[in-house]
Symmetry: D3
């Protein structure tokens, strides 16, 4: 039985609070159960060297956790002097996921940097970061359009993400930390609003799994992401 009788295919209570960071060009505080991630978008009038004189823009992401976002304190990466492999893997994923829906020509030679900082962590922080990162990115692009800097929105469609897992009770949508730690498979799905695949990452944890089990997770993810996309539209007034 899941916490508060949540059905296998139901998301945790999800809130997308836009404008949570006063100074950012776009921001969204994602609350997905007890997972809270603050996503901000920063517009920078410079681009990575490999894009110089291509007319194309770039979207990149950084990810961090506050030391006491979880029951056990996590050492501060700034104090340790480097970002862990996990952090780098997550921020690379967020960046790739968002770039998949960006029209780099329309964005022009500028960079939007998405910062995702985990205030509270109860599982699913990387998928929450993608979901909220999209909202922050969308808001920052709107501001560029309103200011006349951009002629049109440089986003082809929405993107959102959710995790699934295989537990002894079968496939479940949107695992919290306690479910995740006992699941024997764990997958993250990133889809567009139209259901196209942006990224799939599925891993066995302790036991390998069958193609059928994988497909069960796929179906749950389609349902979950459709729900998230609906909420994104609502908070963005689309």
């Amino acid at each position: 039985m899941r916490f508060e009788h949540r059905p296998a295919n139901a998301l945790r209570p999800l809130e997308l609070i836009v404008g949570a960071a006063k100074y950012a060009e776009g921001s969204c505080l994602v609350k997905c159960g007890d997972t809270h991630v603050l996503c901000t978008a920063t517009v920078e009038e410079r681009i990575p060297p490999f894009l110089k004189n291509t007319g194309k823009g770039w979207v990149t992401a950084e990810y961090g956790m506050l030391p006491r976002c979880s029951p056990q304190r996590i050492d501060r990466e700034a104090a340790k002097g480097k970002q862990s492999g996990r952090t780098q893997e997550i921020q690379r994923l967020i960046g790739r996921a968002l770039r998949a829906v960006v029209d780099e020509k329309l964005l022009g030679e500028r960079q939007i940097r998405i910062d995702c900082d985990v205030i509270m962590a109860d599982g699913g922080t990387r998928t929450a970061s993608i979901t909220g990162g999209y909202v922050a990115l969308h808001l920052a692009c709107q501001k560029l359009v309103q200011a006349g800097t951009l002629k049109a929105m440089p986003l082809r469609e929405q993107v959102a993400a959710v995790s699934c897992g295989i537990t002894e009770h079968g496939a479940l949508l949107d695992l919290d930390y306690s479910e995740d730690s006992t699941a024997h498979a764990d997958a993250n799905f990133v889809f567009t609003a139209s259901g196209q695949v942006v990224e799939i990452q599925a891993s066995a944890e302790g036991a390998t799994f069958s193609r059928d089990a994988f497909n069960n997770m796929y179906v749950l993810a389609e349902k979950g992401i459709a729900d998230i996309v609906t909420l994104q539209k609502q908070v963005l007034g689309l």
Copy 2:
């Protein structure tokens, strides 16, 4: 004229929200105008090597800023691979300030680590961190007493901090960022509830200043810290 007609000796609107971080042993979100700092306390059953077998405990602090806490994005220290001199200076100050009121024998051989993470920055983040760090520390100590781990509260009295500055309009209490950036002197005062000095740091910025000007700031600080101590008592139920 200050923002919203604030008098020279008035604090900005101050809130101390206890329990803001679900998983921490003690926590306090300080909102001091548009400066918001999340302070958490973590109890660790280990101590620095130099205290081994002394029967004494330790309190230490770490400080960080979310990249988009301010109008200009600040590069993430974890990505740069080191903490700046400013960050180290601030976290050393917070640690010293809190240790000044700790009875290390009563705390016993354990460490309480205070994390101060700046969510929004509009001046005075280091003094807000001390003020809120004390609240988080107090709550964590209460929990240790309630659990029977400690026999008595290991805190001699409250500690709080405030900044002052000298501007063209004279000495002012609790500068916001725009005031701070035009002040020609800047001071941080850390006092106990009984008005004893814990730390004073006063710096000329652009122009040196007289002993009288310093004393004017001192008087403002005494008033401001008394107000903060009163609010701390209230939220801690003292």
Copy 3:
């Protein structure tokens, strides 16, 4: 048309040269077309701290590229003073993939470290590392069994990996670098000998893709991995 008329579902010429590193407890030089990776296994009589006194062993992996393994020289990570996010992501993947078939209780409190060093890179170095890493691991375990250190082989079954992509000519198996750089989707599949899923990573590159396209890659991967598993058996004398 693929290089040398290779069919869409055919692997590049694949060689698994066992014993390529004289001093290692197990080793395999994988040659997969012009991708050459030297995989070695080192048995260490120590384990990570979190496994102390659990009776369980560990398998971990490291990955590196020789600076001139590719047409453009790649800066040496040792000289830059850190491993890139890509390197860390790959070595985490290799470690997870191999651990999925390890019986940690049978291995006992020791660690086997798999080093994968890319001598020449023409696409698919991470999947080649898993395929060859398994062979090196298997040989090292055999040696432990022969020496009487282990009572039984601590490997549940073989594991192997392959990449697929979606190009303008449809889904293709085992992309070389020139194919990979023009593909609009890229996926890595890690399966066991019995076809169970260990890991799936699929990413859109430039264009998102449909569930059908994903499934086409899945079918190719099943065929390719079956071929690799057969060759592994052969060189291991199974």
Copy 4:
């Protein structure tokens, strides 16, 4: 009783040896009792990026300790790969203190870098660095004026520093290490020749202290700095 019957308001024997470093544009070896600091000034025809095209110059400082400057060897920061928080705090203080008397417009777009290296440490190394750093800076500026690079001395007045402390025998001037380690408050004062405040840093160590106690230290510092300023004038021929 202080060492060699030193009165509470007396400095240790102080020597300022100008020209101690043959190759530097300005240099001063400060000997303050058993605290010896070599201060050198280097003129650089470049400035930090934020001053480009402002017509303003910059003064900055670096601080280091020889490993065996003290009874216990201190690990070499170059070998540890980073400067401690203490080192950074001190070099930031020295730089701020010197900049307070620099006319940045008169200096023009160049930087003077002050290196303070502790040869022997018996307390008060940071204040000795400011006192000697001023002398080195003055000499380097004189050389620039003599060479015709500068039209006028870009220094508004002298600056010097001293430490004070509160011990069981009351407030004392210019603590040596053994006094400092038993003091329950410690303060560093940086004043100009005319007695204006540049920086005050006062910290409780073990016991908090009253405003009166602070004022006692203030008075001692005024006397001590006046004595140092006199010696500076003498060695600089002012």
Copy 5:
């Protein structure tokens, strides 16, 4: 008695396999007994800052060891975050040795970077790197001449290197690891084809040694390097 009755003045079986790295501008796999080093040359159209606008080129070298090139695994320097003192010392030696025969004016404002990666290590990896590095450098220069980028070969003559040692059986040429570890002196000689000295490094290990003993090593080195130079000529078709 040496392994396989090798005389005191004989090299181990030596192979120089040119073109071992498909993508490099020049490459040579040196096999010197069980010491195998892959040397590659990369031509870069940029030079170190201190050579800007001098018309002169540069040759530099980097050195690394695969983790399992030896009986005991060596930690990966990329993972440790820095190159050891030994690695830096070796790569500085290789660069100096090769530059000694380069005509920097003829090379023009470009850099050739020699990477030496040890695949298997049984003593003498630094001298093997110089011997093979020269071959890779020669090949890269030939390619530049053939392409018309250079008018003439920018190499004055060949350079090669060998180690010698003093053991209880007297002076020996080209020590393998087991001989080296029991030798009480160890020397590396780098000579040109005409017998001129490029570099000599001789060190006592456990016992100091006489001038006569040093001279005995010198004579062996002259013989050994002559043999190596002959083989270099042969593989380069000179």
Copy 6:
């Protein structure tokens, strides 16, 4: 003509000032012309891990330069976050040179750490460090014998070092910086008092050189080191 008509085989004026660092167990300030190096010895009751339970001691060295020891300021390695290859090479050389005369059994399981810090640099800092490092080491050992910690001096004989070079005026002893920068060969010799070889490092700089030229430097070095050994004896009262 050399500076002040110095003959080819003459050392620069050499002073060995013992006890220059008040707090160290042994110390020597070497002044060799305008090259000044402060050498200190620190006795530590711990040894490197590989010597645990062997009954043997260790001697190691560290080397650093004050930023303004030379006409051009050298960036502080502590600020850059790492020691250069040159620094590491030099400190490895000093350590090896001193260990060559240490009886590790007599020293017992303790470490003596020699710090060599260059106050002024005019060529030959590494050989001066060895010469002065020996004196500091000798003094520290004497103190251990006097204290009864050691039964006998653990030093077999003295060690000293000198540089030579080949210039257009032939071979010269003890080059200063201006001679060194125009020499076309540079060699460092480390010999014992009895003339045994400890280390020889000879490098071509710009032009290779003959065996005869090398031998000329050797003869100069024998003379120079004999002179240095005589002065060491004198200051050590031997």
